[in-house]
Amino acid sequence: MSTKPFTPTDQQKLIIAHGGSAFIAACPGAGKTRVMVERARSSLSGPGTGRGVAFLSFTLAAVSELEDRLRREGLIDTPPFPHFIGTFDSFLWQLLIAPFGIDGCAEKPRLIPDKDARDVQPYDRAQILKLECFDRTTGAAVEDKLRRANFRGSVKAHETAARNLRKGLLERGELDFADAREIALARLRDPACGAVLAPALAGRFQELVVDEAQDCNPVDLEIITWFRNAGTPVKVICDPNQAIYGFRGGVTRELTAFAATFIADERMPMSGNFRSSQHIARAVVALRPPSQRAVVDDALGEFRDEPTPVQILSYPSKGGVPAAIGVKFRQLTDFMGLVAEDCPVVAATRRTAANALGHPPDGGVQDLSYRLAVAVSDFHFSFELGGRKEALEAIHRIMLQVGGRLGAKTYYQHLSETGTEAHNWRPEALAVADALRFTAERFGTAQLWLDEARRLLEPLLPAEGGTIKQKLRWNDGLAAALAANPTGGHPARTIHSVKGMEFPAVCVVMTTATAKRILDTLSAVAAGDDNEDARKIYVGASRAQRLLMIALPSTQADRLRSLMIGLGAGVVVTQL
């Protein structure tokens, strides 16, 4: 993010000048955004063909960062038309679903992202299962998910109900992203439609840029391939080791196969790390599976000469994640003169990270009062706009639930059916978030906070729908939830929530449950190298600029140390 004049590396120069399709594997901190901006500058300047460029990514945060940069550089206008900048899903929705509707369905298609959260209950008093427990195509129950939902007995009735529910939702034009992708792909595959769309989209876009392509699932990759075959050069930019959206169906194996469809000259690496110190850059290579270590990243950025070695914290294998991790991390960041709030402790789950900081556990409670406390805290302690928006949405959802407005519908179904737009509810949700901001001066205790929350939300209650005390119960975890982000400390974050970001210092926490398998994968002991837990650690660790601390059970600490040293990183191991 420096304001220095940009001097591209040789690898970057090749990519900026490359006109055709390319598969670009970028290491963390490789300056992808900068390179995309420069590529756009090069392709849009000069006597062009008048066509636009489609920039696609998978998270709103990545999209808005790129859009900002392109706009500041004067490469696109507002609106960006004829260019397209958005998430992959919004691209499909806007250009391939919304204008054409769903074949055989008269209803206008509506996007219901949380469709899978719909309740399936074949008869009264039957156990409620979520729609996600049933296969999208066959409607058969998914064993694994039934087990997690503690379901016992015959699932036949549920399966029938789930099939009918899915059919009914489709007839009403209610689609989630997975439906949308499938319908979009079907449209592209259809010979008649494809014959129209191929020249139309090739006529509009001179290039299709897909960032964060490691998050593509097989359907996404097939869509990208379609564009490539239709004559639009595609630039696929990814770090295969950062694929942590397994729940979206992203699969690294497919991505590897996809990469193989590009000829050697079209496979272009970016291995210069402009973010981290040399120690961290090398240590991060060690966190990739052995097959992915052929190219060793080089630190090239302003922190390349940072002397602080990578810190491995070895904690006792028995007794869970100790709070001493947070204390040790604090000592080091203080020593380096870093601000604790800027340096998160990250883990696969928020709970692990919170444990490492000595924050009380949340126990996975579903009480509305507890969720409200978490949402309000999240709102006030999020790093970026995206997190605050999500927290506001959670507050709004709770307000609707207190008001008994959702019924059997999912949150997004409700929004869609009532035509509710963000600007309709955000002011109210913001007011609640502000009024319930927890500080010791305003509310001496969690009980006082709850009283205020009840007073505030009571007017939302439906005419005959119980009392506010029933809706917002006392919960023992409330105090902890409200204090979960004490000012002046390290924030506890999930790895997913820090994707794409960078921090001066990061502490990554592995649990006893996952550490051994992760190290097995990294040491090539385990068969295959498709381990999402390992990739999460890689994502978390690669956020760090100057200080990287990795906390893991003592049984695995040495294995990790030798891996990192083997790749030239300076490492210090500390026993707790």
Binding site: G50, Q94, A98, P99, C193, V196, A200
Partner: protein
Amino acid sequence: MYLEKLGLQNFRSFEEAAIPLCKDLTILVGENNGGKSNAIDAIRLLTQPLGGRREIYCETTDIRFGSANRMFELSAAFTDLNPGQRGRLITAATDAAISGCVFGVKYDETTGRFPIRPQLWAGAQRGNPEPGCHESVRHVYLPPLRDAKRALASGNPTRIYALLNHFLEGGAPEEVAKALRRGADADILTKVGGAVEIGLSALTAGVRRQSASLGFANDEKLIDIARDLRFKLADHGIEPEDLRYSGHGYANLLYMATIAVELEKVNDADLTLFLVEEPEAHLHPQLQAAVLSFLDEQAAKSRLPREGHQGPTGELQIIVATHSPNLSAWVESRKLVFFRSHLPRPPVGVDTPGDEAPAEPLAGVPAEILPEIEPNPVIAAGRPRRVTRCIPLAALTLTDIERRKIDRYLDVTKSAFLFGGRVLLVEGIAEALLLPVIAKKIVLKDDVEKLRLFRSAVFVPIDGVDFEPYTKLLLTPYEEVRIADRLVVLTDGDGGDVQPGEETPGAGRKRRLTAAATALGAQDLLDVIVGDYSLESELVRAGNADIMKTAYLVLHQNSGPKWDTAVGQADAAQAVAIQKLFETTRKGDFAQVLADAINQGGAFMVPPYLKQAIEALVV
């Protein structure tokens, strides 16, 4: 691509209408208050102005006058998209094949929200268009240029000046400024004063010749347009250099310069709709055709593919609203859309039209805008109201031969019947000159109301007897509306050489015209009046030999005996002889002398068939 169909619902004078438009040029013709400007404004509301500065917005007064339904909706359907346009306008696609795209604007006061925001929708699903794609289609509005000063104030005066300079090959700027200032003084728009002076001062003092021509030299495209425009004027026998000496010469040139400057910008859009309203308000007749054929050519040119270019195509489509017969005469009939105000029959099932407004007609309308509606109270549903109806001449079922005839015959005089209503078709100029005088002085002299109707009628001498194509054009219904309300054909029997018992040529024409009208369901609207012989013979037979002889002698001083001989004969022989007499006389001149005589109160007997024709026209 081009705008194929404009849809209007409950908008100003329109109830529900779909106006088809042609690819390059469409001319909207019709009477005043026919709704032409409303159609033009609908396009202005549906598309963005090319210059980016919007001049009109949806307003409550755009809702059909007196309508209880407090909303209106407009839509523009485009077709003939190239692949790049399909890609850019995909969110407005009309079908899976993207064979077209559609944008709509809905203005609805019944949602209860205030202020009322017109909602833009796109495509078959009526969804949200992708931001920015709507601007692929732009419009340029050329209002009747009544004020040259004002036109200068908008746009870029330096460029316009440079263009004028090019036209005039170096006219003095002071002279241009002076001419324009004089033109504008007469106007009420002196109010605009201050703001306008800025534009004008750029022309007088601020601009130096060198800088102007420098700006021009850098601008290859603008100079190309200027060159084309110049050639076009030369084709029509107009020299721009001569124009400056005529009354409105500079303003005419300025108008064209404005067009050229706008044309230069069209490449930024996929389609630019050039909306030209009443070009006759300022351009002289000769220039009207020259300018429009120039625009038409530019439109055709804009559709030529550009090698290797896949961005906005810069296509052009021209839509002109006019009451000038010059323009309608100048294009083929397929490109004409006829506009008229129509009073529909009350719908079946509605008994007596009540004066009571329906209960709560304004439900949902925000209180803030009620004061604006009040001056136009809601009219009860049963009460008949005038609506604008359009007849695209291309949609009328005419055979190819008939259409070719119409296109050939439609000249400046004849295309007057496109202004509709009551139409009288006559064979030649003599009838057209005499009938108004006869009606005014004799037949309708005591009936003011009927005389008024008669005066509003259109007289068209067709220079022959081939009435059939016109009759079909005027009487063919299109969605229950016809161009003519009433059609009277006045023709000669030409019975001179016909054997007794045989059908005269005139009777034959009547039979065929009546059959044609019956086939169109318009037998009640048509009267074919046939004389026995020719006009002049009939006038003599009615007992006007004396007054006619005087008129005849004005033209042929020494032919008294010749006249007497012809008139002296009887019946058919007389008719033939008189007809022969007029073979060497200019009928128009004769009719004019005779009309003067009647005007001055000379004794004149109206032949019964002429009286019948006059009366039939004002029924």
